[in-house]
């Protein structure tokens, strides 16, 4: 991924910022310019909750170029506490311990060592909630 793309999107990727429709109040990640539900053009940036649960998951064993060193790693469809869904990598967990329904929390991590332009890419991954952690 190129430097301009990486720079432009980093705000949304680093801080889990999505958008909320001002008409129907549905939330989306990544952010939208037009509401896919009601068609409204009034959307504003919103910080999404950093906790959620695993709806479904997989373990990537044949990774794309740039992600080889992390394989095998889990990828999950996560539903955040406000109902917003996204796809993210899970970390700090043995792939065989991942379960549907598992509660997870966002954490800031390195995603890929060498991007196409030689940059180190960071973003949000999710890790299991630690006991007694809110």
């Amino acid at each position: 991924m190129s430097v301009p793309i990486y720079w432009r999107e980093s705000k949304y990727r680093y801080k889990l910022i999505g958008s909320e429709c001002m008409k129907c109040h549905k939330r989306f990640y990544p952010p939208k310019r037009v509401c896919p539900v009601c068609g409204s053009r009034e959307l504003k940036d919103v910080k999404l909750p950093d906790k959620g649960h695993v709806v479904t998951y997989t373990i990537i064993r044949v990774p794309p170029k740039g992600y080889e060193e992390y394989a095998p790693y889990p990828i999950a469809l996560i539903e955040l506490e406000d109902g917003t869904r996204l796809i993210a990598q899970l970390t700090d967990v043995d792939p065989k311990d991942v379960k549907i329904g598992m509660v997870v929390k966002a954490t800031f991590r390195k995603l890929s060592e060498i991007g196409r332009d030689g940059i180190i890419q960071y973003g949000v991954k999710f890790r299991p909630l630690i006991e007694n952690e809110s």
């Binding site: 990727r13 373990i59 044949v62 990828i75 796809i87 991954k125």
Partner: protein, 387 residues
């Protein structure tokens, strides 16, 4: 506006496989010339080429002018059509519209993909470009991984067993044994499928369509002129397209591919038929789970019950709804941008009565389902043997 009825009067195709010694251009030229010979035409009025990855795999774009020149037709209108894995089906749709509108009489709908020019990690990344690159693929997800999310959720929600879903691959291989142009012509058992290496749990290697090279082409013309070119014109009764929110996490129910539901509904309406009037279906089963979900979203089974049709053997050639009669994406092969055209070739052979040992006892009308991404684009083409 009254649209003209459209027919397929010529088909041409290469064998699908790993063509190390041949280029994208070589493959296209073979298929295109064979299709023109089959229809008995020396030129076409326009050319559409389905292709997804020539930019990333060959570092070549502008396929329309390039390939028209390669078959001696510089001067005709020509362009590449791209809709990820639905590029071939979309090429048929564009050619169909071009003839139906009255603008062109003889149009070639072609497709080509040359995948073995790169190593697997690069092909994996290129295929993943069918998804949201900046957010979904950025996470490290792959195309097979996204399908694996659905595969696991489907089993979890509807109680299907891994064996039920693996049977889709077994059926494809069974049908490809007699298909001369298929990538794989061997039978496989459920045990073989489920003991093959895991690619993205719960999807095994033998549940994924292979990396294939291939090209195929169709010649379309107005139905009322079709008998000049062939004794067995095949009418395109309906050609419809629908799109969906690109990523599965953006959909209300990830297990319903709404683009299939919408495109199919419109296609049945245009052809004035119901699912029960379809004799066979060529399904875009790039992964086994897609074969199961497609049966439901096309209306052949209720939601959550597609796997029962598969378990009961109803997708076999002698079943209630024969599926992928020449081997499907898994065994006939999946050269991405050409796949939709190969699906049409499979259907045309059945409808002409030229399917050899795989000839169905009743093949008057077939449905072709082509899909880009995980249901982001769906093209439905319904073909019928003309009276």
């Amino acid at each position: 506006m009254s649209m003209r009825r459209v027919a397929i009067v010529g088909i041409g195709y290469t064998k699908i496989g790993e063509h190390w010694g041949r280029s994208l251009r070589d493959l296209f030229v073979e298929a295109a010339l064979k299709a023109m010979d089959d229809a008995g035409v020396e030129r076409v009025d326009a050319l559409y080429v389905g292709n997804m990855m020539s930019a990333s795999l060959q570092e070549q774009e502008h396929l329309g002018a390039l390939l028209a020149g390669d078959i001696g037709l510089s001067g005709i209108p020509a362009c590449k059509v791209e809709a990820a894995c639905a590029s071939g089906g979309m090429s048929i749709h564009q050619a169909y519209l071009a003839v139906a509108s009255g603008e062109y009489d003889i149009v070639m709908a072609a497709g080509v993909e040359k995948m073995t020019d790169r190593l697997t990690p690069e092909v994996t990344l290129s295929l993943a470009m069918a998804e949201d690159r900046e957010y979904v693929i950025f996470s490290g997800a792959t195309f097979v991984g996204l399908n694996a999310l659905l595969h696991r959720l489907y089993m979890h929600k509807y109680g299907a067993e891994p064996e039920d879903i693996a049977l889709v691959a077994v059926n494809d291989h069974e049908n490809a044994v007699n298909t001369p142009y298929a990538h794989f012509r061997n039978r496989v058992s459920v045990e073989t499928v489920l003991s093959s290496p895991m690619i993205a749990d719960p999807i095994h290697l033998f549940e994924c369509a292979p990396i294939s090279d291939g090209a195929a082409a169709l010649i379309l013309c107005p139905l009322d002129k079709a008998r000049k070119f062939t004794d067995t014109p095949i009418e395109i009764e309906a050609s419809t397209v629908s799109t969906d929110r690109l990523s599965v996490h953006e959909r209300d129910d990830p297990l319903t591919l709404m683009a299939i539901v919408r495109a199919a509904r419109k296609a049945y309406e245009k052809a004035k038929i119901e699912p029960k009037d379809i004799d066979f279906v060529e399904s875009h089963d790039a992964f086994t789970i897609l074969g199961v979900m497609t049966l439901e979203d096309l209306g052949f089974a209720r939601k959550g019950e597609g796997y029962l049709l598969v378990r009961e053997g109803q997708i076999a050639r002698d079943g209630r709804i024969p599926m992928n009669t020449m081997g499907g994406l898994k065994a006939r092969g999946h050269p991405i941008g050409a796949t939709g055209i190969y699906q049409a070739v499979d259907a045309v052979l059945q409808l002409r009565g030229e399917a050899g040992k795989n000839q169905l006892s009743k093949a008057e009308r077939g449905l072709i389902h082509s899909m880009g991404g995980v249901g982001g684009t769906v093209v439905i083409n319904i073909l019928r043997r003309a009276d």
